[in-house]
């Protein structure tokens, strides 16, 4: 590395990395560590007792439950969809393949507020579906199903996006060999495809859960903010903040912060283990 455009004299090569590292650390300290510390100190400022009261409040528990329901549904359905789509896109050639690949990305490109409005216009009282929904007493927006649906929408691409590159990189040789030897589609998936993608899958599931738990914009639009009915944890935090209950707001925020830390830890474990396994294979 001592020639071409990377050539630098010994002195510059010593301080440039140091400055870059310093900048990164300062930035992370300022933007990530400080706010997290503020949340935690504010959350526990009024003591453990009032912290516990805030997080065990019936409205907070209801919000927690709705958040978990939305996140779980999003993870399960998006995993099923993501696997199907990734498998179809990388293993078969068909008309409209490019279109599907593009469409999967829509939720990444659309602002969450617009996503919420789309569902209000589709399922709301002024939509053409409303007479049907109303006749069957089905509530979608301003009710729990709406929250679940928008969460599903905003987390839609995570799994497919993560799996497609892995499957593409692997190629289809092993699967073709297995097929020649008479293995069925399910056996091929279970014995050959799945072992290759399982770490990518777990990784994407974790990211998907993180986004689903934290989503605010789209959920806020379809929620209607009915206390104890359609508030998720992030919405509950906003309500508490607006009601001068700052300690409670930070206490509930700390739940979200803990979830984020847990998710990051899980992500690192997945990354670390996957890497080790990879090295094991190479050896």
């Amino acid at each position: 590395m001592n020639s071409g455009k990377y050539a630098m004299n010994a002195e510059t090569s010593k301080w440039i990395p140091r400055i870059l590292i310093l900048i990164s650390f300062l930035f992370i300290l300022l933007m990530l560590v400080t706010p997290l510390t503020v949340i935690m100190t504010e959350a526990f400022r009024a003591g453990l007792k009032s912290y516990w009261r805030a997080v065990s409040d019936p409205y907070a528990l209801k919000a927690l439950q709705l958040t978990l329901l939305a996140a779980t549904t999003a993870v399960v359905l998006n995993t099923a969809f993501g696997l199907t789509a990734a498998w179809a896109i990388t293993r078969f050639s068909f008309k409209g393949k490019g279109l599907i690949t593009t469409l999967i990305d829509i939720p990444f490109a659309v602002s969450p507020i617009i996503a919420g409005l789309i569902f209000i216009l589709t399922f709301g009282r002024l939509s053409w579906l409303h007479p049907f929904l109303s006749a069957h007493d089905l509530k979608v927006v301003f009710a729990a199903p709406g929250i679940v649906i928008v969460t599903l929408f905003v987390t839609f691409p995570f799994v497919a996006r993560e799996i497609i590159p892995v499957l593409e990189a692997r190629g289809t040789d092993e699967e073709q060999a297995a097929a020649l030897m008479g293995a069925g589609l399910f056996a091929i998936f279970r014995r050959i495809t799945f072992p290759h993608i399982r770490w990518a899958l777990l990784y994407s599931v974790i990211l998907c859960a993180a986004r689903a738990i934290g989503e605010f914009g789209a959920v806020s639009v379809v929620s209607g903010h009915l206390r104890g009915k359609t508030n998720t944890l992030p919405l509950h935090v906003e309500i508490l903040y607006n009601e001068y209950q700052f300690n409670a707001a930070f206490a509930v925020s700390s739940l979200l912060a803990f979830a984020a830390i847990g998710i990051l830890t899980a992500r690192n474990i997945v990354e670390f283990t996957a890497k080790k396994e990879e090295e094991g294979h190479v050896r």
């Binding site: 019936p58 528990l61 209801k62 439950q65 978990l68 329901l69 996140a71 779980t72 993870v75 399960v76 209000i120 399922f123 709301g124 009282r125 002024l126 409303h130 509530k139 927006v141 301003f142 399982r198 777990l202 599931v205 859960a209 209607g224 903010h225 009915l226 206390r227 104890g228 009915k229 309500i239 903040y241 607006n242 009601e243 001068y244 899980a266 474990i269 997945v270 283990t273």
Partner: protein, 338 residues
């Protein structure tokens, strides 16, 4: 493979908790939803507890009231789009009229309950920092150079429309109806605005929590609440003239007919006019519409404050005022854009 199993197990447990039992709320026989505006949170929390007792003694039923709060205009919009409210308790009549025009409420709702369906009233006052360092005493002071004004946006907030109209009314009196002078004054005030939040509670947080600005134009009840929350940091300055804000209430016909909740929804709003309801309004810094109960709070409110109503000839009612001032390209837009 062991680790992946452990992680999968973790995810499974996490998933199960979503469907697990929730600490049960006491089973209710009947439930209604009250969609309200921003500053009424504290009022309805107390009022709902009182109403539940009242309904229990009246009908022997356990009632549950679901609350929703937000900017008045935004809340009306959500109801039009399908947020099922049995009753609306909003900041100003045009927001309920919008729901009426969407076909959810029958025309004539404003005469369904006493006093234009406004069980309590309020007005607009100034919240200033302790000691009033900028000596802000009346509407004229808001136009002075170097005074930082905090108010929500009249386009999205009901309270902000009252703020704007109160300033207009004062200027109309001050400049003896000279429209050019009035507009020039309003323009100066608008240029002094530092932050324009979407709702009243957002503006209060900007002024009280984040320390922005010298004066908050606020609902009287919102100003008193901030005073109570942060004792010793603020004081209220009452201008020489303000506006009588009448936040109205209505039963949402389409919803109560479908749910069969008309009786309890109507009683819920009627009970606001009872002595108990009126006292709760007063305790939460809303002016009781019952003059006898209002007298009990004479030490809190300046009951002699000169209050102009929206039906005064200078405004000519909500429909006219809304059309002239707040529609797209209206007077507010023209003055704000300058």
């Amino acid at each position: 493979m062991k680790k992946i199993n452990a992680l999968a197990l973790g995810l499974f447990v996490f998933a199960l908790s979503a469907f697990g039992p929730v600490p049960a709320a006491p089973a209710a026989d009947v439930e209604i939803t009250n969609v309200s505006y921003d500053p009424t949170r504290e009022l309805y929390e107390q009022y709902n507890a009182a109403f539940k007792k009242h309904w229990k003694s009246l009908k022997g039923q356990e009632a549950d009231i679901v609350q929703s709060h937000g900017g008045s205009g935004r809340q009306a919009r959500a109801v039009i789009e399908g947020n099922q409210a049995d009753v609306l308790t909003l900041a100003l009549a045009p927001d309920i009229t919008a729901v009426e025009k969407a076909g959810l409420i029958k025309p004539g709702w404003q005469s369904e309950f006493p006093l234009n369906s406004a069980p309590y009233t309020s007005t607009i006052v100034f919240l200033v920092r302790k000691g009033n360092p900028k000596a802000i005493k009346d509407w004229g002071d808001l136009a002075r150079a170097g005074v930082g004004v905090i108010t929500p946006n009249p386009k999205t907030s009901g309270g902000a429309r009252w703020n704007y109209l109160a300033a207009w009314a004062w200027a109309h009196r001050e400049y003896k109806g000279d429209e050019k002078a009035v507009k020039e004054y309003i323009g100066k005030v608008l240029r002094n605005i530092l932050v324009l939040d979407t709702g009243a509670r957002g503006s209060t947080n900007t002024f009280v929590q984040n320390g922005q600005g010298d004066v908050l134009l606020a609902w009287e009840n919102e100003a008193f609440l901030a005073l109570a929350e942060k004792a010793g940091e603020f004081e209220i300055a009452t201008p020489s003239l303000s506006i009588l804000a009448e936040p109205p209430v209505a039963v949402v016909d389409e919803v109560v007919e479908k749910r069969g909740t008309r009786e309890i929804a109507t009683e819920y709003l009627n009970f606001l006019y009872s002595e108990e309801g009126q006292r709760l309004a007063g305790k939460n810094y809303y002016r009781p519409s019952n003059p006898d109960i209002a007298k009990e709070f004479a030490s809190v409110f300046n009951l002699k404050l000169d209050l102009i109503t929206i039906d005064d000839p200078i405004f000519g009612g909500w429909e006219k005022a809304q059309d002239l001032h707040f529609k797209d390209g209206g007077v507010f837009d023209q003055l704000y854009a300058r």
